[in-house]
């Protein structure tokens, strides 16, 4: 045993709670180590000074004679089993604060889960048209096409053909979501 190991076990050595093997090793170390012997004497001296000093002023302290009677009186008054109300009040007094904190934390977690984890956020306020639709969610599409029409009629001995073109214009607005699209259709005749 070296000095460090002995001094780690100094308290146990002084109080005599080391195992026989460790005790023998400590005794052997003490026989040849002056510093550890001095440390052991210091601990013994410390115990003596503190024990005597602390007990000097408290040796005359005694429990008040009335304490025994007060204990008996309190026990007599509380010997009856507690009522249900007293049990509930006791439980409430003991557990109210942790329960309130736990509920509060649960509410916060639930709110965060609804807001961020499920992806169903509260929709942002959009820019609405007069009909109540958000214009940022609409895409206007306009398609126009020509439909040629040949007409034939007889003028004397000639057959005259006339080509005319009818332009068809279709407007449509595509909406995100399930809103009904607005369709408009215009027709313009353009004689050629």
């Amino acid at each position: 045993m070296n000095c460090r190991r002995f001094q780690n076990r100094l308290y146990e050595y002084v109080e005599g709670t080391l195992s026989p093997r460790t005790q023998a090793a400590a005794d052997q170390h003490l026989a040849r180590c002056n510093a550890c012997r001095q440390a052991m004497h210091q601990e013994q001296q410390l115990a003596r000074v503190l024990c005597e000093g602390l007990r000097h002023d408290t040796g005359t302290l005694a429990l008040r004679p009335g304490i025994r009677q007060r204990i008996l009186t309190v026990l007599e008054h509380t010997s009856a089993p507690p009522t249900a109300g007293e049990i509930i009040a006791g439980l409430w007094k003991r557990y109210a604060r942790p329960v309130v904190i736990a509920v509060f934390l649960l509410l916060i977690v639930a709110f965060l889960r609804i807001q961020y984890l499920s992806g169903t956020r509260v929709p942002e306020t959009g820019i609405l048209r007069s009909d109540g639709r958000d214009i940022r969610s609409a895409v206007s599409i306009e398609v126009s096409y020509c439909v040629p029409t040949y007409r034939f009629h007889q003028e004397g001995n000639f057959v005259v053909d006339t080509l005319s073109c009818v332009t068809m214009v279709a407007n449509e607005t595509l909406w995100t979501g399930a809103q009904e699209p607005v369709k408009t259709k215009q027709e313009r005749k353009m004689p050629l």
């Binding site: 001296q45 000093g53 302290l61 025994r68 204990i71």
Partner: protein
């Protein structure tokens, strides 16, 4: 009446059990409570509450420790509540207010009363955790493993707290009162 008979009598609510418990352990508990809280009136109340709690919960005592150790564990718990409620410790004026008189003719030796007052004064300035280990070790004469079990900490923590508490006490004591006698300081 030995400890087993006393516990059996308390469990059976025998008429003489409570007075027997009080007379056997009351004074000893009071001295320990006083050393932990530093006020006699509060110590009396703490001991009364300790005994009441012990009597009410005697059915939970399984005999794995001595009755005094069990009572002292309850006392220690109540003392911690006491410190938590008060936030700071005001030691009894009778002890703290007393000036430590140092005899001029032989400054290396303090008389027992002055030394005791100085020790109590220094003890009152320690933190609760340091004061607990000092009291349990040197006032209650508990062994290291008993202190560890009583406080719910490891033996290494007990030794560490003792080391720092003793060093702190030595700084707070007058130079004439050396805790380590003529051997020197606590440094080894």
């Amino acid at each position: 009446m030995d400890e087993e008979q006393l516990i059996a009598a308390l469990k059976a609510q025998a008429p003489g059990a409570v007075p027997e418990l009080v007379s056997l352990y009351g004074d000893r508990l009071l001295r320990s409570a006083y050393s932990l809280c530093g006020n006699e009136a509060d110590a009396q109340d703490i001991v009364q509450e300790t005994l009441l709690q012990a009597i009410r919960s005697v059915h939970r005592f399984q005999g794995r420790s001595t009755v005094y150790t069990w009572l002292h564990a309850i006392l220690l718990n109540l003392t911690r509540h006491y410190h938590r409620d008060r936030k700071r410790i005001v030691y009894d004026n009778e002890l703290v207010g007393r000036e430590v008189s140092l005899p001029d003719e032989n400054p290396s030796q303090l008389d027992a009363g002055a030394a005791s007052s100085a020790l109590w004064k220094a003890l009152g300035r320690l933190s609760v955790s340091h004061r607990e280990v000092i009291i349990l070790r040197y006032y209650e004469n508990m062994k290291i493993h008993e202190i560890a079990r009583q406080l719910g900490i490891s033996k290494g923590t007990v030794k560490s707290r003792l080391h720092y508490a003793i060093g702190e006490m030595q700084k707070l004591l007058p130079g004439e009162l050396n805790l380590f006698g003529a051997c020197g300081t606590e440094e080894m």
